[in-house]
């Protein structure tokens, strides 16, 4: 039984349609990778799920409709979206950024406990608490963005190109943490990624998006074994 059910999702900007009816499901606690070339609509898919673009079709999380709602409402339903560019509040401190992640939550004690929990995943953030977020390195900012998303205690985590602009070593570390988070918190994750290797390494299911349509779906192993995917996105022949 899928927790996130996307059915016939259509989305775009103005008159330009980017997604042409995308359907897939993600089980509770699973990681789903969305692969595909530039301009396939990967980012738009995440934006459609979090209400940042107009949509038609449905997307339900635990039976609750997400499609057609505003981003702030979707966030209140437990969806944390780490957007393209990380969405950092640059002039604010690291601590403010993290606390903003819990903006819609009640319960001070729990929020403080969650802050501590996030420092166990990202110890570096604790040493930078009072620093302006804009002064962090790219990798640290990506960690901050993940930390901010976790502060929502999300039921669904949407990650847009977490590897973008980061050194390979930093990226690997980041994916390791995403995997740990997914394992420990049982958070459902949809990750959009150009680096198919990394994404397939932590995902159970994967879908390949091309020009706004899903052209291939399967388990991470199946996708990795697919010759065409191997050629197009993994950079080698099977």
């Amino acid at each position: 039984m899928s927790d996130l059910v996307v059915d016939g999702l259509v989305a775009g900007y103005g008159d330009v349609r980017v997604l042409h009816g995308v359907s897939f499901g993600v089980k509770q606690g699973e990681v789903c990778a969305i692969l595909g070339p530039n301009g396939a609509g990967k980012t738009t898919l995440l934006r459609a799920l979090s209400g940042m673009v107009r949509t038609r079709g449905t997307a339900t999380l635990g039976g609750t409709e997400l499609a057609g709602r505003s981003p702030d409402t979707v966030a209140r339903l437990g969806v944390a979206h780490v957007p393209e560019g990380r969405g950092t509040f640059m002039p604010l401190t690291v601590e403010d950024n993290l606390r903003l992640g819990a903006f819609v939550r009640r319960g001070r004690a729990e929020i403080e406990a969650d802050l501590d929990r996030i420092f166990t995943y990202f110890p570096v953030l604790k040493t930078r608490l009072k620093q302006e977020a804009g002064s962090l390195s790219g990798g640290e900012q990506q960690m901050l963005a993940l930390g901010r998303a976790l502060m929502l205690r999300p039921r669904l985590l949407l990650l847009d190109e977490p590897s973008l602009g980061l050194a390979p070593l930093v990226t690997r570390e980041l994916f390791r943490i995403v995997q740990a988070i997914n394992a420990e918190e049982q958070t459902t994750v949809v990750v959009v990624e150009q680096n198919a290797h990394l994404a397939l390494g932590i995902a159970q299911q994967a879908h390949v998006l091309e020009t706004g349509r899903i052209v291939l779906s399967g388990t991470a192993e199946e996708i990795r074994a697919d010759e065409q995917v191997a050629q197009s996105y993994l950079g080698y022949r099977v």
């Binding site: 940042m52 957007p83 604010l92 403010d96 819609v104 804009g134």
Partner: protein
């Protein structure tokens, strides 16, 4: 020397008033990137509300509280009704809308209260504090104190409350603020309400010094623009310090630069605006638009 210090004290008193209106301008600019040309007129309108209440026999301080509450609601309402429809429109469109608001509010005040000048009660005692050769009016002290209090309250709101944190988030990255669940539309309205309230304080402080009439704030608005430009349009602290500097500069120029006198004083803010835009466009405390990627 005593004369010089006296001029500085007078300048600080005037500057505090410019600072309060500049603070209102900066509040809205920070949230929305909009320079609200109608800010002074809204302050004037609020002052008329206070005057009406006082004229009806309400005590000054109660009238002030009611005025601030009404101004807050009015500011929010204006954002929802007038500004919301042009949200995201080109800057020129929004500027024209606020200029239109300026004219509308000005005309509405004239229509309701006529253009005849009215006496506005001074809430502060009439005496003065003698510090050696320098005389500081209680009303100057009162104005400085009120502006300081407003600053302090805004600081507490922004730095130590959850609503304030949300407002700062909206000011820096509205799209991301939406993604963490902040209702950005309402936050913007809140910013307008807050600015209208701060502006109302400014109007009530000005009115006893000038006379209450619909064009009362026109001059003050120009000084407030100079103050905000000097301090940096995105810095509340800058707005206040900018206001004080502009007040002092204007008073000193009027007193010591022979050909300026009291007639050309209004030229001083223009010079300040020009000089700042040429030398340091982001202002003294503003943030230059450079960020690490």
């Amino acid at each position: 020397m005593a004369g010089f210090l006296q001029q500085i004290v007078t300048g600080l008193g005037a500057g505090a008033i410019y600072a309060s209106l500049a603070l209102a301008l900066v509040l809205i600019y920070q949230f929305t990137g909009i320079v609200n040309f109608a800010q002074g007129e809204l302050a004037m309108f609020s002052t008329y509300i206070a005057w009406t209440l006082v004229a009806a026999g309400v005590s000054f301080w109660l009238a002030l509280v009611i005025t601030l509450v009404v101004s807050f609601a009015g500011g929010m309402l204006i954002e929802r009704i007038v500004i919301r429809p042009v949200e995201g429109a080109p800057e020129l469109t929004i500027v024209i809308v606020t200029v239109g608001l300026f004219i509308f509010v000005n005309a509405a005040a004239g229509w309701i209260w006529t253009f005849l000048i009215k006496d506005f009660p001074n809430p502060f005692p009439g005496g003065a504090l003698e510090l050696g050769a320098v005389t500081v009016n209680f009303s100057t002290l009162g104005v400085l104190g009120v502006v300081g209090l407003v600053m302090g309250l805004l600081y507490l709101l922004f730095q130590h409350t959850k609503i304030g944190l949300g407002m700062r988030a909206v000011a820096t990255n509205p799209a991301s603020a939406r993604l963490v669940g902040i209702r950005v539309g309402w936050t913007l309205a809140l910013g307008w309400g807050l600015a209208a309230t701060v502006g109302a304080v400014s109007g009530v402080l000005v009115a006893p010094l000038l006379f209450l009439e619909p064009n009362m704030m026109a001059g003050v608005l120009i000084y407030a623009f100079a103050a905000a430009t000097l301090g940096g349009f995105d810095s509340p602290v800058g707005a206040v310090i900018g206001g004080l500097i502009v007040g002092v500069a204007e008073t000193l120029a009027g007193a010591y630069v022979g050909f300026i006198g009291s007639d050309l004083k209004i030229g001083v803010p223009l010079l300040i605006i020009l000089a700042v835009l040429l030398l340091r466009p982001q202002g003294l405390f503003g943030r230059a638009a450079v960020e690490r990627a």
